[in-house]
Amino acid sequence: MLIKIPKSWQLRDSDATPQNIYKDRRRFMAGVLKGTGVAMAGGIAGSLIGRDAFAAWVRGEKLANVVKSQYTVDEDLTPYESVTEYNNFYEFGTGKDDPFDNAKDFVTRPWTIEIAGEVAKPGTYDIEDLLRSEQLEERVYRHRCVETWSMVVPWVGVSLASIIKRLEPTSKAKYVAFETLLDPERMPGQHRRVLQWPYVEGLRLDEAMNPLTLLATGVYGEVLPPQNGAPIRLVTPWKYGFKGIKSIVRITFTEKEPPTSWNLSAPHEYGFYANVNPDVSHPRWSQAKERKVGEFFKRPTVIFNGYGEEVASLYTGMDLAKKF
């Protein structure tokens, strides 16, 4: 029996901001600022209010039917503005604020995901068909970038394991490979060959099946903004952020370890595993400490980003300094 759950994460046409208002958003914002009498010269406060007014217009729809999950951390969330305006997403430019500026008009529907390789149910799935029967969960995860900054992010998404089970990988499947959309017209950063496009990432099948592994379609209870990897991205909180491949269009089950973008770019700097590890330095900087975005003092980095209880057993007997 097919139970029709509303496509809660889908932005319906009727809900979208009318285009005339959207196109006029800057003037709208100026009006808001004037109306509330905020003096822009008033320093930090004025500027922050201005940012909020703008962010309200680019924010996505609220997601319905989201359950809180057991996965949460007892730390302050990184503000929405930081999560959505400070991004590494080279498909939209290499500057931290480029994705926010350049991904605004990125259209994420219709969106299909090709399932291929060692799997019983290959095919090209509409994202809605792939997600329809999954439960959206909110999970508050720590996020540690390889560049030594970190965040605490309330993702909304579905368990990758649950999707994989439905797709029925064959006994030959040992790895899962992911691929980002390749479309330089829509992703202007792909006009420059900073990395090999499309961006590719991969996990060992047991890592992909770990309960922590999430396919995120939202953040802060809302539809994932384009700059964060809409419509669907990977989140593996015990690994460095670059493993979290964005705007996924292909998932392939493979027998051999798949190539990964940063490893292809600089093999001695970025490994396949990319597990957060304070004892294994990046060749050009230490990984011992991190700065949580918004904080002044650095804090010590924890092995597996604090998720050792959940994932350490995946790597028993492995030399983490060699398999970095």
């Binding site: 822009m40 320093g43 930090i44 406060a45 004025g46 500027s47 922050l48 940012r51 503000p79 503005e81 930081s82 305006e85 400070y86 080279y90 290499t94 931290k96 604020d97 560049e147 900054w149 420059r192 900073v194 990395l195 770019s265 600089a266 330095s281 050009r284 900087w285 230490s286 011992a288 400490k289 700065r291 975005v293 918004g294 002044f296 003092f297 650095k298």
Partner: protein, 210 residues
């Protein structure tokens, strides 16, 4: 120095008095710093202000060094003398940006964690070369006053100050080795440095007696 243009105004000359040009350039060199302060006061430094300040000051340290090193090529190519005359001011601005960049790294980024800083200097190549460039520029800034030229003697002072080329090259290397994948900006800066140096090289080669 500038009295000639002041006391003997020439109706055909559109040259601004040197003193005015000097203050104009001084202000231009201060603009990036003023802009940064402005961003700081209006909350415009982004989600990771410490990283932003670090990158920003590093960028302008290298750029102001390139501006300083453009003085002689401008004289060679166009016969302009005024940039060479204010080279000391330009160079001291370059040093100021380098010093602020380093101060941000030591005080704000690492909050005097000397152990971490020392490990960075010894183990991370891009920081090693950056620190060498700083030490060179420190020596040049410290000997930038007239008394130092007298004490060292013009010849050895000049030889010492040629190290500025080394510092600039190390600055570019520092930038190249720092970035993750996008080499565009460090390449542009390095190419500009290479062009500036080749104008000098070409000039020296041409003026050799044959």
């Amino acid at each position: 120095m500038s009295t000639r243009t002041l006391t003997l105004p020439n109706s055909l000359s559109i040259q601004a008095p040197y003193r005015v040009t000097w203050w104009l350039m001084f202000t231009v060199m201060a603009l990036p710093l003023a802009w940064l302060v402005g961003l700081g006061l209006t909350g415009g430094l982004g989600a990771n202000p410490i990283e932003f300040i670090n990158r920003y000051l590093g960028d302008w340290a290298l750029r102001s060094l390139l501006v300083t090193l453009a003085a002689t090529p401008l004289k060679i190519l166009f016969g302009w003398v005024w940039p060479v005359r204010m080279r000391r001011m330009l160079g001291l601005w370059a040093f100021a940006y380098v010093a602020l960049h380093l101060t941000n790294y030591v005080v704000i980024d690492n909050f005097f964690a000397w152990g971490d800083i020392w490990k960075d200097i010894v183990k991370r190549n891009f920081i090693t070369v950056g620190m060498i460039a700083f030490l060179i520029l420190l020596a040049l800034a410290a000997t930038s006053w007239n008394g130092a030229i007298r004490r060292l003697g013009a010849k050895s002072w000049k030889r010492l100050h040629r190290l500025v080329y080394v510092a600039a090259a190390l600055g570019c290397l520092h930038y190249i080795w720092m970035v993750k994948a996008d080499l565009l900006a460090p390449t542009v800066h390095s190419v500009i440095l290479a062009l500036l140096l080749s104008v000098r090289a070409w000039h020296i080669f041409r003026s050799q007696p044959r």
